[in-house]
Symmetry: C2
Subunit: 406 residues, 2 copies
């Protein structure tokens, strides 16, 4: 596997565009991803009971359509809590894409992000779709435009791509994603689109995605708020020319590995660019009895406001980490816990067998001031592990969310 | 039932003191509550797997001792994650109280709050106990001193007391509590001590307390962090002279009602004085199929960082409330939800049948700027209800917790 430039247009046959349609003020607000040939589609979606109109639409497409060919996305308005009018507007958005690209409406995925409870400005959206269709282009620049157009409070666009060899053919896989608040994915993340020119059956594509998300997007959290709009979509158009993957063989494993690189990379970018965040917090839990416990403990730590505030303040207040582990729901022996912190400047053991070591607070604070801080917790009770990613809690998180709509 | 002045010394036979022992800098840091006669004791404690030494001690006392007579408390150091040395220090603290007051060591409850992972300065503590014993006094002033001494980041002491009539006798019941971070009680709260001169069996005292806490302390949250030290203790010394309550009759109900008034009052004070908070947020969920769902939904709303930030910014971003309801784990029909906000200035319907009403943003913002904001959510699907209390998320919460230890 090789890491390459680009995102949704890295793979053969994919085009994209990103435009300013007029939903937001003076910022790109709509994006389109298009495959020149019909592609297999799969998706995972929010588990929130309150589901946005595009989520309901995409779940239906994923279930019923053999092929998909386009994904249209908008930022600025989430089309959630909008009732029958919201469903109708979502269909009109898909229909506009189908007409402009001359493809069936049931091959068009939709995705929206922004304020909940506002109706879509449908005239603006439909006009935006024709702009998008006119701007569609292959090449990395076009993918970057699309990644920029789906940003809300993100401070930078998020793209990632890799290439790998299957059946003697070079296959590419790339994607884009957006954060950066209301991020606590549960079976998917806010918005992410992955494209690949791999040939694979629809069933295995879905299975690979559903399995992958447990270890990538579902392991990040910015604020423990599971969105109404979480959607992770993947399109595989087969243009790489490999023999279609129809069983779980070595080729399938190679694809899963490539997929996991891209999804984890995008997920970490979302965590690092969480609203107001100044650093990425990675928490690895090792030596655990079961993976379920390892996941519970790692997510409990990265979502604790007290841990996140301490990390912001470069304060090695490890008691808060043990506290967060203790209310995670997992059972473990506190007297066996070892705990380390690590960043570019080095690594330090703060806790041994549940008790604080005689560490230097000054050095600990220096390590915590890094842009990427890693906490490793060793329960010394088994072989299961898990890694989760989050960010610090800052004044700016509060500021951004105290006046999000203004 | 009558609301009266005072806290832990409101009931007959109770004395208290609060002193500066030297654990913290220039602030009272130890408190003692004493019953002149042996009292029935009951308690509920944190469900955190990581339990502080005093919690483990108190759980044993509650289970094994027929009578308790004193509660000693300190702030500044939590005696959690302190291993065998922590257990020993806790025992030395209890022993010092037992000697000073000439009572059995197994009739002494202990409670600690403060930084996790630091060992107790046991010499300072033992000296503090003799100061406390010397200062013990009946009367409301002494109770206030004790309430002040258990504060950490609290901005004011928390006391409440009531009187009621049982079996022709006037019974009093009062308590004190402290917050104000790491507050997401699960079967108890950070530290609270209730005293009463009621005569009641130990079994019913425990049952009343365990039942009550589900609707009082367990319904508040400041930061979704369940502490390692949560302890709610109650002492009933029987000096009111009523015939001992030994069954669930009208007298028992009257006691439960009085208890609930005091616990709910103290719990609300903790929520309103949450770290950095500028206002109390009350969330009432009505028309729910089951009480379990009502509790899940109300707690999900008060713990959402996005809801809390919006409340801080006086932003009626009701979509975030529906979003938090949606990931609460409860099943419900979003299309039936009505939602109101209310404060001293009036009441406003923001959502009807899942859709935004045509409300005035300006008036909504005015209501949200009140010191006490109430949100009512009506699911129109049943008769169960629940009420939870929290606070807004502010810059000061982050500030306090970014440099808590410095």
């Amino acid at each position: 596997m090789k890491i390459i430039e680009g995102g949704v247009t890295a793979s053969q046959g994919f085009q994209a565009s990103g435009v300013y349609a007029g939903i937001k003020k003076n910022r790109k607000d709509m994006a389109l991803v298009y495959s020149s040939v019909p592609a297999k589609g799969a998706g995972t979606f929010t588990t929130n009971v309150v589901k946005a109109a595009p989520v309901i639409w995409d779940m239906k497409i994923t279930k019923e359509s053999q092929y998909v060919q386009a994904v249209v996305l908008n930022s600025g308005v989430a089309n959630a809590c909008t009732g029958a009018e919201g469903d109708k507007n979502n269909e009109l958005m898909a229909e506009a894409v189908a007409k402009a690209l001359n493809i069936p409406i049931n091959s068009v995925y939709t995705a929206s992000t922004g304020v909940i409870g506002k109706q879509m400005p449908i005239d603006v959206i439909v006009k935006g779709v024709s702009l998008l269709a006119g701007e569609l282009k292959p090449g990395l620049g076009a993918g970057a435009q699309a990644a920029e157009a789906i940003m809300t409070t993100d401070t930078y666009p998020k793209e990632c791509a890799v290439s790998f060899v299957i059946d003697g053919k070079e296959v590419k896989l790339g994607g884009m994603a957006k954060g950066s608040g209301m991020i606590h994915p549960n079976m998917a993340t806010m918005l992410a689109v992955i494209t690949t020119d791999l040939a694979i059956s629809k069933e295995l594509l879905q299975e690979a995605l559903s399995e992958d998300v447990k270890h990538s997007f579902n392991m990040i959290s910015v604020d423990r708020d599971t969105s109404t709009n979480d959607s992770l979509l993947i399109l595989a158009n087969g243009l790489a020319g490999n023999k279609e993957i129809t069983e779980k063989n070595d080729d399938y494993d190679a694809f899963c590995k490539a997929l996991n690189y891209v999804t984890t990379n995008l997920a970490k970018k979302i965590a690092a660019d969480g609203e107001g965040a100044t650093k990425l917090l990675e928490v690895q839990v090792i030596g655990v009895k079961s993976e379920e416990d390892a996941i519970s403990i790692s997510k409990s730590i990265i979502t604790s406001n007290l841990v996140k505030s301490a990390v912001f303040g470069n304060d090695a207040n490890w008691g808060r980490i043990l506290c967060a582990m203790g209310y995670s729901g997992a059972r473990f022996d506190p007297d066996k816990v070892d705990l380390y912190i690590e960043s570019a400047d080095g690594k330090l053991k703060l806790v041994e067998n549940g008790l604080g070591t005689d560490y230097s607070e000054e050095y600990a604070s220096k390590l915590l001031s890094g842009k990427e801080v890693k906490v490793t917790v060793d329960l010394k009770s088994g072989n299961a592990t898990a890694t989760a990613w989050g960010c610090d809690l800052t004044y700016d998180y509060v500021k951004i969310n105290a006046d999000y709509r203004s």
